[in-house]
């Protein structure tokens, strides 16, 4: 504001009123936010670590995007954070990281080398005939380690974004440049699926008789488990990841049932992922179809 707020005369009063109403709006917004947070209670979806990590990942994306153009781009992190899909993705990644850390501490589960993957590496080493399976297992491990290290350092390489989000991020950069009256650089994102998610899908497809193990968290580890649960239910992986941190375990319980687990198996997985959850939740539906219907998923004829 170039003029001082307080000066003699009637126009100054009007400016004061404007400034005050602006302050009122911000106060209202903060109060509404606080009201929401207080009503939410202690929330694993929105604890400080998760918020900080999501913010850091957005900042990292912004820094990578800014490096693509020679001119400084104002407000890029805020514009990226305003893209809801992008925000959901970094939120889900933060929740997945926290889940992996928690499982490592409480269940001794290796975040990148779960028993299922370790056994496959052992098996292909013992039998030289499985060159393709060996390469897949090793590449998956390498991708998991890379992503783990990146998350540890709160980095999110652009190429690790799913293709639609990568395009969205680049479009946001174009938008920011246009808003600032700068020439948009011609940017074309490639459409490769990020290495980690693609390899997890490949690994899942190649499991064969071991496929049911992918839905056991102690066997599959968090990364493969989330991919398996997303694949089995048709629910986006990010939604599945977020479900592991929801206040009650209802959505996760339904997802587990919709994936085809019986009540006992679903309860065991639910309690492994959310020790505080009520295992009765898995018995609320009689069948996988009922769970799918409740979740609003297209029910398959035979599952």
């Amino acid at each position: 504001m170039t003029e001082p707020l307080v000066s003699a005369g009637r126009p100054a009063l009007a400016r004061l009123a404007d400034a005050l109403s602006g302050a009122d709006r911000r106060l209202d917004a903060v109060t509404a936010l606080l009201e929401g947070l207080v009503a939410l209670g202690p929330c694993r979806l929105l604890d400080e670590q998760t918020v900080a990590r999501a913010g850091a990942l957005i900042d990292d994306l912004a820094a990578q995007l800014a490096a693509l153009t020679p001119t400084p781009v104002p407000d890029l992190p805020a514009l990226l954070a305003a893209q809801r899909a992008l925000l959901v993705h970094v939120h889900a990644l933060s929740i997945e990281w926290k889940l992996a850390q928690r499982l490592a501490t409480t269940r001794g589960l290796d975040p990148v080398l779960p028993p299922l993957l370790a056994r496959r590496l052992d098996a292909v080493r013992a039998d030289a005939g499985h060159a393709e399976a060996a390469a897949l297992a090793r590449a998956t491990l390498a991708a998991l380690v890379d992503q783990h290290e990146a998350m540890r350092a709160m980095r999110l390489p652009l190429r690790e974004l799913p293709p639609d989000l990568r395009a969205l991020a680049l479009a946001t950069l174009d938008n920011a440049l246009a808003l600032a009256g700068l020439a948009a650089a011609p940017l074309a994102g490639d459409t490769d699926t990020p290495a980690r998610l693609a390899l997890l899908r490949h690994l899942l497809d190649s499991l064969g008789a071991d496929l049911p193990l992918a839905l056991q968290i102690d066997e599959a580890g968090p990364a493969l488990f989330l991919t398996a649960l997303a694949t089995a239910t048709g629910v986006p992986r990010d939604t599945v990841a977020l479900a592991t941190a929801e206040a009650d375990g209802l959505r996760l319980a339904l997802l587990l049932r919709a994936a085809g687990l019986d009540a006992g198996a679903a309860a065991a997985q639910l309690l492994a992922l959310m020790p505080g959850a009520d295992p009765v939740l898995v018995s609320g539906v009689a069948s996988a179809e009922a769970a799918e219907a409740l979740l609003g998923l297209p029910t398959e004829a035979a599952s």
Binding site: T105, T106, G108, L109, R125, A134, R138, A142, V145, R152
Partner: protein, 469 residues
């Protein structure tokens, strides 16, 4: 009380502990509970209750306060009839008394520095339990590092130390990971020294979980390699890099903390501070052993500095070698007995007057006898004989071991010479120091592969000679 295996208990339909192995029963009572009585450890009660309600087996790492100390254990509860069956394993003290009971990652060294190391590491790899490389990656654009990573990726399962040159580690047999943590190394074609950090991977079970390997430059601000510079060659070490430092300044300062490490490790090993699983007792034993080795090494290095100092001169005195022999045999009698070795010292009426410094002669004898006891077969005899020949008095220590070949005999007095022996706590300095001491006193220390006629057996025979008065 051995806590190696599972500690088992049973609860009834009201979550009352009705049967429990000793450690669990003790914990229950120290936490204010009765037996039979409601489970007194809150976290365990929650787990038992949940397992019974859900009718599924659950397992979790739990914390409790036992006698004012935070302990951590892995608990599993499984429905069993009306009640539940409880199994506890891997009891240990949590990081600090009153600390966060859920914290378990105190297994690796320098845990606090890990985030920093992850930032600094140029190479990181995931190793299996045999130290074979499962995967590796580099954040550096240095072609030498990329080549190392490519080599590892092309030959998965290769033990990681094969591809690098460990600095100061002469033998190539598999080493315990604790000995490789923080080891300095050289990477083929990459200039400068690097450091490796090893961290056991997450896992509650035994030791088959593998490791994270991080390799970071020794110097953070490494100058980029100059393409015109000659290839890096092994630097010529200054004759005594630790020079005056060890004996005068460091040795006195090191003795106390090392002794404290040994004493505390012994306390843990003997479970004086509370129950812990067998493997942790073994680790404590390793710590105590390593501490003793370190202490011996500090003493040896201090001696080395003393004998290599230009003005070193022992204070000669009239001594009796037979008396020295009897004292040395007395000091090491218990250790010899433990190994079933008979020490034969000269009889009381035997005398061999000589000129030398008593303390130094005793030091030489203790060194010779320690070696003889260490490398002799059990239930053999180590003999100390004394005598006089012309202007010299001599004392000989002979054993019934394998003896030394002429080549070994030629090398055995060299500095840091171990004759291929490893892992027994020796530094390879004892005989070198002993000979230096003997010569400084106007005598000598020699070895013959075969025994003297006076002493039976076919083992090694070390002869210390000193001027006769």
């Amino acid at each position: 009380m051995s806590l190696d295996g599972m500690v088992i208990g049973r609860c009834d339909a009201g979550d009352r502990l009705i049967e429990a192995d000793g450690p669990l029963a003790g914990l229950q009572q120290r936490c204010g509970g009765d037996l039979p009585g409601l489970v007194a450890v809150p976290a365990l009660l929650a787990l038992v209750r949940q397992a019974r309600h859900a009718s599924v087996a659950l397992s979790r790492t739990l914390g409790a306060i036992d006698d004012g100390k935070a302990i951590v254990f892995h608990a599993s509860a499984a429905p069993d009839g009306d009640g539940t069956r409880v199994e506890l394993s891997q009891w240990r003290l949590a990081g600090e008394p009153g600390g966060e009971p859920g914290r378990i990652d105190a297994t690796g060294p320098d845990r606090g520095a890990v985030p920093l190391l992850h930032q600094m590491a140029a190479i990181r790899a995931v190793l299996d339990s045999r130290m074979g490389v499962l995967t590796a990656g580099t954040t550096s654009s240095d072609p030498a590092l990329a080549a190392l990573v490519a080599r590892w990726l092309a030959a998965p399962g290769e033990v990681w130390t094969e591809a690098v040159a460990l600095d100061g580690v002469a033998h190539r047999q598999p080493l315990h990971w604790r000995l490789l943590h923080d080891v300095a190394l050289r990477i083929p074609d990459a200039p400068g020294l690097w450091r490796a950090a090893l961290f056991p991977r997450a896992g509650l079970g035994g030791g088959d979980h593998g490791f994270d390997l991080l390799i970071a430059p020794e110097m953070v601000d490494a100058v980029p390699p100059d393409p015109d510079a000659p290839p890096v060659t092994e630097r010529a070490e200054p004759a005594m890099p630790w020079g005056r430092l060890i004996g005068r300044d460091l040795a006195p300062a090191l003795r106390q903390p090392i002794n404290r490490i040994i004493a505390n490790a012994e306390t843990i090993r003997t479970r004086l501070a509370g129950p812990l699983p067998g493997e942790y007792a073994d680790y404590a034993n390793d710590i105590a052993e390593a501490g003793r080795h370190l202490l011996a090494l500090v003493e040896d290095l201090a001696d080395l500095e003393a004998v290599e100092a230009p003005g070193f001169a022992p204070a000669p005195d009239r001594i009796d070698l037979a008396d020295c022999a009897r004292r040395a045999a007395g000091i090491l009698g218990v250790r010899a007995q433990e190994r079933g070795i008979r020490l034969v010292a000269p009889p009381e009426d035997d005398h061999a007057p000589a000129v030398g410094e008593f303390r130094r002669v005793l030091q030489i004898l203790l060194n010779l006898l320690t070696n003889a006891i260490r490398y002799s077969p059990a239930h053999s005899t180590v003999t100390i004989a004394v005598g006089q020949a012309g202007t010299k008095a001599w004392i000989a220590v002979s054993d019934e071991g394998e003896g030394l070949s002429p080549e070994q005999a030629a090398r055995v007095f060299d500095k840091f010479e171990r004759l291929g022996r490893t892992g027994d706590g020796g530094s390879g300095l004892g005989l070198y120091i002993s000979r230096r001491l003997a010569r400084a006193m106007g005598g000598d220390l020699i070895v013959s592969g075969r025994s003297l006629p006076e002493a039976p057996g076919q083992g090694a025979c070390f002869v210390l000679s000193l001027p006769a008065p």
